[in-house]
């Protein structure tokens, strides 16, 4: 019986030690709000979508708090149902992270991982919005039709 009590006490102490660490790590979530849309393209004419105030930009909501790392997997091209490829390009100004609490925007290169601190105090809604732009580069002989691809966004807590 003494052994059991001691064990329970030990587990309780461990729980107390562990609890504060858990309280810091709010659940992380990524929600796609809007895709990156280049619209109607002409063969041989590049089309750029800015991540700032343009209707075609992608929009992703990020839920969480604390220090996080954002990694974006960008496609090299879009594909048509017939298998034709339409090249894509992303530059150093094509990512914007908007922090809701401070209303501060950070421009970043989406080809590189980004670390940011999401402030506490916005437990229910998203803490930040990630905007993504890019450039579609159709060739002169680009086959007409629909093209599609996807961007993967991954976030992870960073130990502080």
């Amino acid at each position: 019986m003494r052994v059991l009590r001691a064990a329970v006490l030990t587990l309780g102490l461990l729980a107390l030690v562990a609890a504060p660490r858990h309280a810091h790590s709010q659940s992380l979530a990524v929600y796609s709000v809007k895709g990156l849309q280049f619209g109607s393209l002409l063969p041989g004419v590049d089309a750029a979508v800015s991540p700032v105030n343009t209707p075609g930009r992608a929009e992703v909501e990020i839920v969480g708090q604390g220090r996080i790392a954002i990694t974006i997997e960008l496609p090299a091209s879009m594909s048509s149902p017939r298998g034709h490829q339409l090249p894509l390009a992303f530059g150093p100004q094509d990512g914007v992270l908007f922090l809701k609490v401070s209303s501060r925007s950070v421009t970043f290169d989406p080809r590189q991982p980004l670390e940011a601190t999401l402030p506490a105090g916005n437990q229910q809604g998203s803490a930040a919005i990630l905007y993504l732009g890019g450039t579609a580069k159709p060739a002169r002989d680009q086959a007409p039709g629909e093209y599609a691809s996807s961007v993967s966004v991954r976030i992870a807590n960073v130990a502080t």
Binding site: V3, S32, P75, A143, A148, R154, I155, A156
Partner: protein, 176 residues
């Protein structure tokens, strides 16, 4: 005491993974675009039958297109830039006029990768009002020359002069 230590160690082992586990989340965003069919006529060369001498009786024909154009003759052509198949609608014949005088020429069309040379033979060459569609391998073709040749019939007593006319062609991109 050993049991307590063992239990504590077990508890630590159980707790350790959740403390070290990094939270992650991921999602995907769609990317999309629509490439339009593109079809433009960039340049043209006139069809020229050259010089013909009216016979004293019957008629003579002057052909352009069955063979490389002769002296003073040119094969007509339209340079078409496109990224899809297209169809052509054109006239079967044309009337050439010189003042009040006129004569008629039938028109033959074909497709080529170059502006010069004889009209292509086979299924890609036909009367201009019955030309098959220009079919391409999508993603590889950007320029086609629509060649226009024909046969001019010059009758006996045809008045001398410089005759001219024009023919309109309508090109339509075919959605893939």
């Amino acid at each position: 005491m050993k049991k307590i230590a063992a239990l504590a160690a077990a508890a630590i082992l159980m707790a350790a993974p959740s403390l070290a586990h990094a939270q992650t989340a991921s999602g995907s965003v769609s990317v999309g675009a629509t490439v339009q069919s593109s079809l433009t006529v960039a340049a043209s060369n006139p069809l020229n039958f050259g010089t013909a001498i009216a016979p004293s009786a019957g008629s003579v024909t002057v052909n352009v297109g069955a063979a490389p154009a002769g002296t003073g003759q040119t094969l007509g052509s339209l340079e078409v830039s496109h990224n899809s198949d297209f169809s052509v609608s054109g006239p079967a014949s044309i009337t050439l006029t010189s003042g009040a005088n006129s004569m008629s020429a039938s028109l033959t069309c074909g497709y080529s990768d170059t502006a010069t040379g004889a009209l292509l033979t086979g299924t890609s060459s036909a009367a201009c009002n019955a030309l098959p569609n220009r079919d391409i391998t999508l993603g590889t073709q950007t320029t086609t020359f629509l060649q226009v040749g024909g046969t001019l019939t010059v009758g006996a007593g045809q008045a001398a002069g410089t005759y001219s006319g024009s023919a309109s062609f309508t090109l339509t991109a075919i959605a893939s």
